[in-house]
């Protein structure tokens, strides 16, 4: 299993990078960010397809890159398994030969035998003699994975490997990937713009934006506790607002936030800044509780906010609601309720509704200043 991956990169041109990565051995790290955020660039640096101006890579204690000592191992010298976004299968070779090319054995028969095993492992037994152009998208992806694994790599690198297939195939491939992960305990770095995919497959995520790594951690942690408003936006937090800190009671770990004309109480051990300064805050939709008209519920006393429903969108059995709170200009609290709850509470556009923002769910973030430019080594 080894000691995992540790890497950092920095350059200003042609593609700006200021990234730090850490993935423990046997775990999966997902690089998450919007298109063009530099995640693929980082992955290519890991593979040796791109050499950053400054950086270092250590994989299982083997040094692959060290610009300070002018060490750049070529991709062939690194044991990486790379699955490209368009798979990069050799079009003129059969599935078996595609995988066999990567297997590091001496004799042709040994390579083909191992390749056969890998193809069976990805559920492609029987399709060994097919050429890539007659395979479906999902089958091609599996060949690409088999080829990457056939290399017996120290680390598996996947560049948006599920983006080119349809939803049903994707979900099947997620399951298979999860099975392989469990069986092989391979250190993996996965690039994706889909946070849900990252949450399903990764043990850790690193949020990347404009070539910078902004925050790393378990998927649930990063989503629940983004470090800054930018990260919050990147991980899809919908309820993101700005307020300012009135006062902080250290012993009770309570912070009081002024939000427009509303005062909110949040539970936090560390204040986001000095009292009287602005701060960003967010809350997950699951921590926004709708006050029911028919019977009151327990959390109704916490941070009640009243407002007018200005968004009301029915999607199947659910309704997406957006509430503009009274006293807070230009803010919309969004939450999802089931259709029958919306009906029972006679919710609709223009209706008044009250929600409770659970104090434990309000997450405070410092307002962003200029980020540090050079990561420490």
């Amino acid at each position: 299993m080894g000691n995992g991956l540790k890497a950092w990169f920095w350059q200003s041109a042609p593609i700006p990078l200021a990234a730090e990565l850490h993935c423990p051995g046997g775990e999966t790290l997902a690089l998450v960010g919007p298109s063009g955020s530099g995640k693929t660039t980082i992955l290519r640096c890991l593979a040796g397809l791109l050499n950053p101006a400054h950086g270092a890579i250590a994989c299982h204690d083997k040094s692959w890159l060290d610009t300070a000592h002018h060490l750049h191992l070529r991709p062939q010298a690194r044991r990486v398994g790379f699955v490209f976004q368009d798979y990069g299968l050799f079009p003129h070779l059969t599935a078996l030969d595609n995988v066999a090319e990567a297997v590091p054995a001496r004799s042709r028969t040994a390579r083909r035998a191992r390749a056969r095993e890998w193809l069976a492992r990805v559920h492609l037994a029987g399709l060994e003699e097919r050429l890539p152009r007659v395979l479906s998208g999902g089958q091609r992806q599996r060949v690409a994975v088999a080829r990457a694994l056939g290399r017996e790599p120290d680390i598996l690198l996947l560049d948006e490997p599920f983006s080119a297939v349809d939803r049903a195939t994707r979900e099947r491939l997620y399951r298979e990937m999860a099975e392989l992960k469990a069986a092989l305990r391979m250190t993996t770095v996965l690039v994706t713009h889909d946070l849900q995919e990252a949450s399903l497959l990764a043990d850790r995520i690193t949020v990347v934006h404009h070539g910078r790594t902004l925050q790393s951690g378990a998927p649930a942690d990063v989503v629940a506790r983004p470090a800054t408003a930018t990260v919050a936006r990147l991980v899809g937090v919908r309820n993101l607002f700005t307020g300012y800190l009135r006062r902080f009671q250290a012993i009770e770990c309570k912070a009081f936030i002024a939000w427009g004309e509303v005062e909110l109480e949040a539970h936090t051990a560390v204040p986001p800044g000095a009292p009287g300064t602005a701060c960003d805050w967010c809350i997950s939709a699951s921590k926004v509780i709708l006050h029911r008209r028919d019977r009151p519920s327990r959390g109704e006393r916490e941070n009640p906010v009243r407002g007018e429903i200005i968004e009301y969108l029915r999607l199947g059995d659910e309704v997406l609601i957006g509430i503009a709170p009274y006293g807070v200009p230009a803010a919309i609290i969004r939450l999802t309720v089931s259709w029958h709850v919306a009906e029972r509470n006679r919710l609709g556009l223009g209706e008044t509704a009250t929600v409770s923002l659970l104090a434990a769910g309000i997450h405070l973030m410092p307002v962003e200043s200029v980020l540090r430019t050079v990561p420490d080594q």
């Binding site: 050799f90 003129h92 990567a102 590091p104 690409a144 290399r151």
Partner: protein
């Protein structure tokens, strides 16, 4: 029917192809995948013979390799005869004149290979040489066949530059294209017609054979 002229043409076409295609391969590869400052200039230079009048090339070759210029003197010293009016002379002219026909199809073929395929080869542990032999060349094969066919056919038809550089020396520089011209002037329409028809057939045969060879590659198996 001027058999020596026909064999001479075939020989010229064969030598041109044998020398030019392997030389064009590395150049085409560099033009396809590398970016460097004078790339546009190099590409223009390669494409120049497409628009250059054959007589212009013939003129410059005669000047450069005439007995009075140093390349000509060097050549004479090495080989004992002038470059002009010799088979080597028209071969040199042919190599220069066919450059775009060899390089451009090869360049297109290499450009058509997705970068991810080559990168996948490197990540799979294939050395640059093995990548070239096992991945790039097989995928570029249609391009190689096109380059071969075009160079061969184009050489068979060369007239102006061969006449200027080679003169009309039977057995040495009198290619079949020149022989046809010669026979027309000699009022020997029968021979001219026969050679023209034969040349047409040989051209068709060459191209058809090469296309058939590459066509078979694409047929699916299993």
């Amino acid at each position: 029917m001027d058999w020596p002229a026909l064999w001479l043409s075939l020989e010229l076409a064969t030598w041109t192809s044998l020398i030019l295609i392997p030389a064009a391969l590395p150049l085409a590869r560099i033009l396809a995948w590398r970016h460097f400052r004078f790339k546009g200039f190099v590409e223009a230079l390669v494409a120049l013979p497409l628009v250059l009048p054959p007589t212009v090339l013939g003129y410059y070759l005669l000047v450069a390799f005439g007995s009075h210029a140093w390349p000509g003197k060097l050549f004479e010293a090495l080989f004992g005869h002038t470059l002009a009016f010799s088979f080597m002379g028209i071969l040199v002219a042919s190599l220069i004149f066919n450059l775009p026909f060899a390089v451009q199809p090869l360049q297109r073929a290499f450009e058509a290979i997705p970068l991810s395929v080559r990168e996948a080869a490197w990540c799979s542990g294939l050395s640059p040489w093995r990548t070239l032999w096992r991945i790039e060349l097989p995928l570029a094969l249609p391009g190689i066949a096109s380059a071969l066919a075009l160079t061969f056919a184009h050489t068979l038809g060369e007239f102006g530059v061969v006449l200027m550089v080679g003169g009309n020396i039977p057995g040495e520089t009198k290619t079949v294209a020149i022989s046809i011209y010669d026979r027309v002037q000699a009022f020997d329409d029968e021979a001219a017609g026969m050679m023209s028809a034969l040349l047409l057939a040989v051209s068709f045969l060459t191209i058809g054979m090469v296309f058939a060879l590459t066509g078979r590659r694409v047929a699916p198996h299993g």
